[in-house]
């Protein structure tokens, strides 16, 4: 057993009266890829957005329960500190449109007013781009706008931007849903490589993707965490009937 980066305990989330995450308890292990899988509207994205406290930005959003990052209670920290320690990659690639590729990677430092020496900056940018497998493609055009890249490249740029902050854990919200199959395959390979450096929590509605890239899988349905365990076990001998039905394509 590795150590847990993230521990979620009896966690509920709601929009006004509408409870979308019911009493979820699970843990995310260090340097592993954990998938949150389930049909649309099952609360997986909401749960993910609660972890870096983006959920609360929406009017009427509320939460109950505990989320621990290592031993720190995320909900007693300042959300700004939480988001600096937890990286996030979104459904659609969203590089900052006014910035160059270089500036996009270093944006977490620049926008937070963290001053670095030139060499330090260069090193962070190169390391992050190498980790996100984009360095070779962009090293000669670092000062071009990030939005000129292709969709898949933009998503890898966003991954580099999150990696640059050296997060304790990286949240990925259906990172390939806006990409073509080739870019998707590329990002999936990258996710598997990345777990050497960072712990990943991945939301996906694609079971094949969960099966391909993750070590642990959680299946969510209607806000409940139905089943959580090693990916191989969940996909071959699911304990819950609902998991089995979802995997065999009866709903979702």
């Amino acid at each position: 057993m590795g150590s847990n980066v993230l521990t979620i305990k009896d966690f509920c989330a709601n929009f006004d009266e509408n409870q979308v995450v019911n009493d979820v308890t699970m843990a995310v292990e260090q340097n592993q890829v954990t998938s949150l899988m389930g049909p649309s509207g099952c609360g997986k994205t909401t749960l993910l957005r609660c972890i870096n406290r983006m959920h609360e930005l929406i009017l009427g959003a509320g939460v109950k329960g505990k989320v621990l990052l290592h031993d720190d209670d995320l909900y007693s920290m300042n959300p700004i500190e939480v988001r600096k320690r937890i990286g996030m990659v979104f459904q659609r690639p969203n590089p900052f449109p006014s910035m160059t590729i270089y500036d996009n990677v270093i944006a977490g430092y620049k926008l937070n007013g963290i001053r670095l020496k030139r060499q330090e900056r260069d090193k962070i940018v190169e390391d992050s781009l190498r980790k996100s497998a984009l360095w070779e493609e962009v090293k000669d055009r670092m000062y071009k706008r990030g939005t000129f890249l292709s969709g898949g490249q933009q998503q890898r740029l966003c991954i580099a931007r999150a990696l640059a902050m050296e997060p304790d854990i990286m949240l990925m919200d259906e990172p390939t849903s806006a990409l073509d199959p080739k870019s998707t395959a590329h990002i999936e390979e990258l996710i598997i490589e990345l777990k050497l450096n960072v712990t990943i929590l991945l939301v996906t509605h694609n079971m094949a993707q969960a099966a391909r890239v993750s070590d642990f899988t959680a299946f969510m349905y209607l806000g409940d965490l139905v089943e959580f365990g090693p990916t191989e076990k969940l996909f071959t001998v699911p304990e819950d009937k609902r998991t089995e039905e979802y995997l065999s394509g009866k709903f979702g």
């Binding site: 700004i80 600096k84 900052f96 977490g108 620049k110 966003c158």
Partner: protein, 282 residues
């Protein structure tokens, strides 16, 4: 049967297309006629003396419009200093707040302000500032111009910022960037081209305003660089010279018109250029 039908449809199609082209062409004719007429009448008057010297007393030959040029620049710059920061900040508020009572009220006020006739705004500036200070001044004129420019800046800022996808804001917040910094360093730069375009169009709009200046900046034949004293501006000078009975002065009004149109056109073109050049894609 089917064949003849098609034939008439094709004819109708052609006719319609010709009509569209004709009216589209018709729209550009007035602009070129206006430009042609102003250039024809204005160009003979324009030379360095015209641009760089003060008006001569009535009856003397020559003289220029440098006082009005300086006055226009002064009035427009002062108005911009008021209207741009207030307008941009209000625009940010409106785009961020979205719906809501205060936001709706502010939006409505901006719309109404835009609809108030410029002469009335001039009268307000007269009542509030000229009467209070006891003297006509560029400052009071700038106040009136700022009121006219404000809704333009508010609107263009709001419209521009609303087009920026929410995912960009989330990307910044998710990096642990504070809300203020997200607005100032991510959202504003992303909307810079649209906001600058709006500001320039606002400036172009107020540079040609006469009515709000009639009883505020008032006009003066002397060089004045003090914003608390009255001064001439190009539209005022054109108004006064064109309505005078002297052919010299009427000719100078054409010259001043050409200068004014040139300034406004330049600003419009600049706005277009900046809009293109700084445009960001999402």
């Amino acid at each position: 049967m089917i064949k003849s039908n098609t034939f008439f449809r094709v004819i109708k199609d052609r006719l319609f297309l010709c009509g569209v082209y004709f009216f589209a062409f018709l729209v550009i004719v007035p602009l070129f006629l206006v430009l042609y007429y102003i250039i024809k009448n204005g160009l003979p008057v324009i030379n360095w003396e015209f641009l760089l010297s003060l008006p001569k007393p009535m009856g003397d030959v020559g003289g220029g419009i440098v006082n009005a040029l300086a006055g226009t620049i002064m009035a427009v710059v002062t108005a911009s200093v008021f209207a741009i920061p207030v307008g941009v900040l209000t625009g940010i508020y409106l785009s961020e707040a979205g719906e809501g009572r205060l936001a709706d009220a502010v939006r409505l006020c901006a719309e109404i302000l835009q609809g108030i006739p410029s002469i009335v705004i001039g009268l307000i500036a007269y009542a509030w500032i000229v009467v209070t200070f006891g003297s006509f001044s560029v400052f009071s004129g700038s106040f009136a111009l700022a009121l006219m420019m404000l809704p333009v800046v508010v609107r263009s800022t709001e419209e521009t910022l609303k087009l920026i996808p929410n995912t960009i804001r989330e990307a910044s917040l998710a990096l642990g960037v504070s809300y203020t910094r997200t607005i100032l360093k991510v959202i504003l730069p992303s909307g810079l081209s649209g906001i600058t375009t709006g500001v320039l169009l606002g400036v172009a709009r107020i540079s040609g305003e006469t009515a709000p200046l009639l009883f505020t900046a008032f006009g003066s034949p002397y060089m004045n660089l003090n914003i608390f004293k009255p001064a001439d501006t190009l539209p005022l000078l054109i108004f006064n010279y064109a309505t005078s009975p002297y052919p010299d002065w009427q000719a100078m009004a054409w010259g001043a018109s050409l200068v004014l149109v040139f300034l406004v056109l330049t600003m419009n073109l600049l706005a277009k250029l900046i809009g293109k050049k700084w445009e960001v894609t999402f």
